[in-house]
């Protein structure tokens, strides 16, 4: 068998679609991380743990008969509070960006242990009415759970972009990230804004978690499987940019999927990091 195979048109188009779907999830998961990092200078590794915790909560609520999308009504406010609480802690102890990495890595371990103690280390799969639904467009199969993720990712990214670009709050957040003392001199309440933003980022993580639960099987240890590729999407997309992670995530997802369609799937993970390195090398100083 040769290492490179010329794919059929249907294989290629289905792979591109599959890449768009998984890329949307990378983008959605990366959105909160990017905002946290770019606007609050907090490298929040616990973002992934929050997403998984939300996924498990969604699984739990769904197993009790609640629709997974309705579960968002309970999950999102909860995670908003958790994110704001974490930001309060970070501000209280004036934790530096580097130390935030250590703090949130530790927090990730704690959340993983918590998940394992409640739901065990066994794999869990959310069963919902969405899971069985798909439709066909021409020769393409479109699964509904992945489509929901794509729609949510696009809508939320666009909404966050609009808020950051067109509202006073967005300007204040961007201003504080650029030059905090000047922003404060203009009356920006950075503390309140930071709490609001951190809460929003955690809430975004929880939405990503629900989407994750809709399409993927859950295990506590899989928290770490997403870190590399989502970080790549965040850095490629540009820190603090609302649309960046979605665009970069989609690019990575499609590149990976096409790689899998034409050659060995084991080469796919190299794609995201090759892209990341290429961007960092070719666009010095512009990625962040």
């Amino acid at each position: 068998m040769s290492a490179f195979t010329l794919p059929s048109a249907s294989l290629l188009s289905q792979s591109v679609l599959s890449g768009i779907f998984v890329g949307a999830l990378y983008g959605l998961m990366g959105l909160g991380l990017s905002l946290n990092w770019g606007l609050l200078r907090l490298i929040n590794l616990a973002h992934f743990a929050f997403a998984f915790l939300a996924a498990y909560l969604c699984y739990e609520l769904a197993s009790r008969g609640l629709d997974p999308l309705l579960a968002l009504a309970a999950i999102v406010p909860l995670f908003f509070a958790i994110g704001a609480g974490l930001q309060g802690l970070v501000a209280r102890f004036a934790i530096t960006p580097f130390n935030s990495l250590l703090l949130t890595f530790g927090l990730t371990g704690i959340v993983e242990a918590l998940i394992q103690s409640i739901w065990t280390a066994d794999f869990r799969k959310l069963e919902s009415s969405y899971a069985q639904q798909k439709f066909k467009v021409g020769t393409l199969f479109v699964p509904v759970p992945e489509l929901i993720t794509l729609v949510l990712a696009v809508a939320i990214s666009a909404a966050v972009w609009a808020v950051l670009r067109y509202t006073d709050l967005g300007r204040a957040l961007r201003g504080a990230a650029e030059d905090a003392p000047i922003a404060a001199a203009f009356g920006v309440n950075q503390k309140a804004n930071a709490l609001l933003l951190a809460g929003t980022c955690a809430a975004l993580a929880s939405i990503a978690g629900v989407c994750l639960a809709l399409s993927f099987t859950l295990a506590p240890s899989q928290i770490y499987a997403w870190i590399g590729v989502v970080f790549a999407a965040v850095m490629l997309g540009g820190l603090g940019r609302a649309l960046g992670p979605l665009v970069a995530g989609t690019l990575i997802g499609v590149s990976e999927a096409v790689t899998m369609a034409v050659t060995a799937p084991s080469w796919a993970p190299m794609v995201s990091f090759t892209l990341l390195i290429a961007v960092l090398v070719l666009r010095p100083g512009k990625s962040a």
Partner: protein, 407 residues
């Protein structure tokens, strides 16, 4: 960690004191004192980390076995205490912890962890201190170089040839012997090694390989892989699966409206796969299943019952005894047999005895005189039928005359 109950400790202490007073003339007060102390058996398990789901099975089995053993009077008239440490799914940490078990905890005996990487780490330590190591599920026998290690998983010395042959024998005897095969596999070492063997076996049998794909451990997106299998139109799909690979691939196939004609999964997470409707007729391999004739082995029915209760209570997705739990139980049986037969805790004596004798276990009689101390390949072929795993090959171990089904 399991420890002897206070009552049994008091009884053991009383027995030791009685021995001192009455027998007076024992060689050394130290030996008299330790005669009643529990025998300490040390091990690590991946209680946290990516391998922890399976480690829970081994933890439950170990607890059951030690309880049963102590009820029977322990080993050499002494209670048994199992010291189990968490290696966090890290082979390097397993090495450190086994070193601690020998040098700091000063355990009397060692018993192995379950995953290949951790087993090899433990084996290095056991070799350094000349300790016997009975281990649970080493997937690559050629890596077992140490003379005093004993495998509890009856894979045979050359599983990369014998296991695929068993599978293709079963398919050849089935209703639709395949002519074309798609081989897709995880690159996890013990999986990749078996898949490489399967490809060789296929060649020798004149089967046509229409697709070969590999992915890394932890792959998230199985859509393109499912797509390529669908495009290749094979009669049979060999999936070098570990953990959830099978579920994820079947999920991805379902999204494409594709049902593989005949399909095999090497080491799937058994519970999640069997509960998936798309896994209908999926094949896999096993050394033990929760069904006759396996449960007719001495002690098997009781173990299966207790395990089911404990696993259910612990929230495990699949509370039935299969390969992992059976290999784990077997490891304890092998160690017990060695100690009882030699009436000692002397590692060299135990190893010599094990190499020269067969041991009655849950899997049947095991021998340890082959390459790497491996004996016979007792891997059987099982299939998902009506939502349950059913052993379908070879004929002499099928339950109720079950046969391999093909759509």
């Amino acid at each position: 960690m399991l420890k002897a109950s206070p009552t049994s400790r008091r009884s053991a202490l009383a027995a030791a004191l009685f021995g001192l007073v009455v027998l007076g003339g024992v060689d050394s007060p130290v030996s008299a004192q330790t005669a009643g102390a529990p025998i300490r058996i040390g091990s690590t398990l991946a209680l946290t980390g990516p391998l922890s789901a399976t480690a829970q099975i081994h933890r439950i089995v170990g607890e059951i076995y030690v309880e049963q053993l102590n009820k029977r009077g322990g080993l050499l008239g002494r209670q048994v205490e199992w010291i189990v440490k968490d290696d966090q799914s890290k082979a390097d940490l397993a090495r450190t912890l086994y070193e601690q078990l020998v040098t700091a905890d000063k355990v009397d005996l060692l018993i192995g962890p379950y995953a290949t990487g951790a087993i090899l780490s433990a084996m290095g330590v056991a070799q350094r201190y000349n300790k016997v190591l009975v281990h649970h599920t080493l997937g690559i026998p050629s890596l077992a170089k140490y003379d005093m290690q004993f495998p509890a998983w009856s894979l045979g010395a050359d599983p990369a040839t014998t296991v695929p042959n068993t599978i293709f024998d079963a398919l050849a005897a089935g209703p639709k012997p395949p002519k074309t095969v798609a081989v897709v596999t995880n690159k996890f070492p013990s999986i990749q090694f078996m898949t490489a063997g399967a490809r060789e076996v296929m060649k020798k049998r004149g089967l046509t390989e229409v697709l070969f794909l590999e992915w890394d451990f932890g792959n998230r997106d199985f859509g393109p892989i499912a797509n390529r299998i669908k495009d290749a139109k094979p009669d049979f799909v060999w999936v070098g699966a570990i953990g959830l690979d099978g579920n994820l691939l079947l999920d991805a196939m379902k999204k494409l409206d594709y049902v593989p004609p005949q399909h095999f999964y090497l080491y799937p997470a058994p519970g999640p796969l069997v509960s998936l409707p798309e896994a209908k007729n999926a094949l896999s391999v096993t050394i033990f299943e929760d069904q006759l004739p396996f449960t007719s082995a001495p002690g098997a029915a009781e173990f299966v019952k207790i395990y089911r209760e404990r696993a259910t209570k612990a929230g495990l997705a699949d509370p039935s005894v299969e390969t992992q739990a059976a290999a784990s139980y077997t490891a304890w049986q092998i160690l017990e047999a060695g100690v009882v037969a030699t009436k000692s805790l002397d590692d060299k004596a135990i190893a010599t005895w094990l190499k020269a004798n067969k041991v009655d276990t849950l899997q049947g009689k095991l021998r340890f005189d082959g390459l790497g101390n491996f004996g016979d390949d007792l891997m059987r072929v099982k299939q998902v039928q009506n939502g349950h795993w059913v052993v379908v090959w070879p004929k002499e171990v099928t339950s109720g005359g079950a046969k391999l089904l093909a759509p």
